[in-house]
């Protein structure tokens, strides 16, 4: 009996010691000093990037039919909840934790173990590690959000939840580690992806294309589709996305510094150039410039400048923006029609194509004059960078394509991906959520 008691106290003291140890560590003088200005800017940036997911919800929501409005909002908001927990419990550890063969992080930071309020030098020397973690969480949330544009109006809610969690774990986390994680093999190869052209846009865009192909077309597509139910909502959403993008790209400098300014300036310029270009293209080819066309162009431009933001100069950003609209316009208007797949809200056509274009453009226009820690691109005398960028693009496309396909097939086999024909006709709001976005009677 006495012996047992001793045993108990031994364990209790051990737990007390473990429990107290982080506090004890925090009281020691930190090796790295945090910087108040940097912390402020990254805190604000995290909030800005967070707002992009509700923004995306309204951007996409305005484009679907009335009967599916809530399903889009719901999918975006449930991602905020699910991916945040996934990120905290193990996603952050897989993405940024101690490296396993350049491919993925290990589980040692699971549950944010060791992710403290001190800086972690390999990622951000002047802000607390937890701030870097929560800033990155916002990227992990919006990336599967981008994909849902491809299967809008026809995917079962349960299947969506399973697919998103699996995709975040098996596609987003590894690809994020390759590019941004310490020890990631593409990072070591010298790939430049400032704010997520590869990690976010190519990754999600390719998964979106796979989703559109695996789920098949919506009933009545393409000849009997209603127009977007609320374009003002789509414009509101695009405005929030543009606003949030300043945190997405500007915040990726991870500090309140010259690089953040440069990234924000070129992002804004590219978005403006792309919105204008798209409007002009429509004026020329479709009789009139449209509101939807203009915001699509702006989003394409912002997606395209994302990987290049911290590496290119302001005038080159105009070229990148204009090019983004030219290529994405061609993809959405010509290629999609020709190959007749139903990428409902152009998640691939805008984000996938924009991401690929931007990553390659970084290999052309990057210059050390903007960011000494970056590299020179082809137009600044270094053709090697372009090849590295191209290699990263191809590797990511192949990986995202194959793994997304496998995950979709898996979810399809277990619970089925698509709603029934009747449910699709009645709408996802009523059949998946038992709610209506709008009342018809007072």
């Amino acid at each position: 009996m006495r012996k047992k008691n001793k045993y108990f106290w031994g364990i209790a003291i051990l737990f007390l010691f473990i429990g107290l140890s982080p506090t004890a560590r925090a009281e020691e003088p930190a090796v790295l000093l945090t910087n108040g200005a940097d912390i402020s800017w990254v805190l604000v940036s995290a909030a800005l990037v967070f707002l992009m997911t509700p923004g995306l919800a309204f951007f996409y929501g305005g484009l679907v039919r009335k009967k599916n409005m809530l399903s889009i909002l719901m999918q975006c908001f449930i991602l905020i909840c699910m991916i945040t927990l996934q990120w905290v419990l193990f996603g952050y550890s897989l993405s940024f934790g101690p490296d396993i063969r350049g491919f993925i992080g290990n589980f040692s930071w699971a549950g944010l173990q060791g992710v403290t309020l001190d800086p972690f030098a390999a990622y951000s020397a002047t802000i607390p590690h937890q701030l870097f973690m929560i800033y990155q969480a916002m990227f992990a949330i919006i990336t599967p959000g981008l994909i849902l544009g491809a299967f809008a109006e026809r995917m079962k809610f349960s299947a969506f939840c399973f697919f998103s969690i699996l995709w975040a774990t098996f596609v987003y986390d590894p690809v994020c580690h390759w590019i941004w994680g310490a020890g990631g093999f593409l990072r070591n190869m010298g790939v430049l992806d400032f704010a997520g052209g590869i990690v976010v846009h190519i990754n999600a865009g390719i998964a979106a294309l796979v989703c559109a192909l695996v789920l098949g077309k919506r009933k009545g597509y393409p000849n009997h589709m209603s127009p977007p139910h609320n374009l003002p909502f789509a414009v509101l959403g695009a405005g929030l996305l543009w606003f949030g993008w300043f945190g997405f790209n500007g915040g990726s400098a991870l500090g309140a510094n010259r690089l953040a300014v440069s990234a924000m300036v070129v992002s804004h310029i590219a978005g403006a150039a792309a919105g204008l270009t798209w409007a002009l293209l429509e004026w020329k080819f479709n009789a009139k410039p449209t509101m939807l066309g203009m915001i699509t162009g702006a989003v394409a431009g912002l997606a395209t400048i994302t990987p290049a933001a911290g590496f290119v100069g302001p005038i080159d950003a105009i070229w990148i923006g204009a090019l983004a609209s030219l290529v994405c316009f061609f993809c959405v208007a010509v290629i999609k029609t020709k190959f007749n797949y139903d990428d409902s809200l152009d998640a691939f056509g805008v984000h996938g194509v924009g991401g690929i274009l931007g990553t390659l453009a970084t290999g052309l226009w990057a210059t050390k004059a903007v960011n000494p820690a970056g590299n020179n691109g082809l137009f600044y005398g270094n053709p090697e960078l372009f090849l590295i960028q191209l290699k990263a693009v191809v590797i990511t496309i192949v990986y995202s394509l194959v793994v997304s396909w496998v995950l979709l097939k898996l979810v399809d086999a277990v619970i089925g991906l698509r709603v029934s024909e009747d449910e699709e006709r009645i709408g996802l709001d009523l059949t998946q959520h038992r709610e209506s976005g709008y009342t018809m009677l007072d």
Partner: protein, 113 residues
């Protein structure tokens, strides 16, 4: 003169309008309506409170035609709206007493076309 009222599934509207057009029936009024038939609606739930409206969205077509166009119109609606599922809708044909065209003051058969 007859007044044809049809209640159909919203997603069949395009097809019905196309076939009507083919048969040269151009004049039609369309409205959003809520309704329920034998299939019953789906009840909505808000914060746990169940709404018992149980109504589904439908489309109402109203078409005024002269006698010789009654059959083509009804045929067109049936052809376009039938999916063989419960809830495909109904067509009602009513007698129409009079019709005036506001712009010209014409009445009766000539005013309809």
């Amino acid at each position: 003169m007859r007044y044809i009222v049809a209640i159909i599934q919203p997603d069949r509207l395009d097809e019905v309008l196309r076939i009507l057009e083919e048969k040269e029936i151009h004049l039609v009024t369309v409205s959003n309506v809520l309704g329920r038939g034998r299939q019953k609606g789906i009840s909505e739930v808000y914060r746990g409170h169940k709404e018992n409206g149980r109504l589904l969205k439908k489309i109402k077509l109203e078409i005024a035609v002269n006698e010789e166009f009654v059959k083509p119109t009804v045929d067109a609606i049936i052809q376009g709206a039938r999916t063989n599922h419960i809830g495909d809708g109904k067509i009602f044909v009513l007698d129409l007493k009079e019709c005036f065209r506001i712009r010209t003051g014409e009445t009766g058969k000539t005013a309809i076309g």
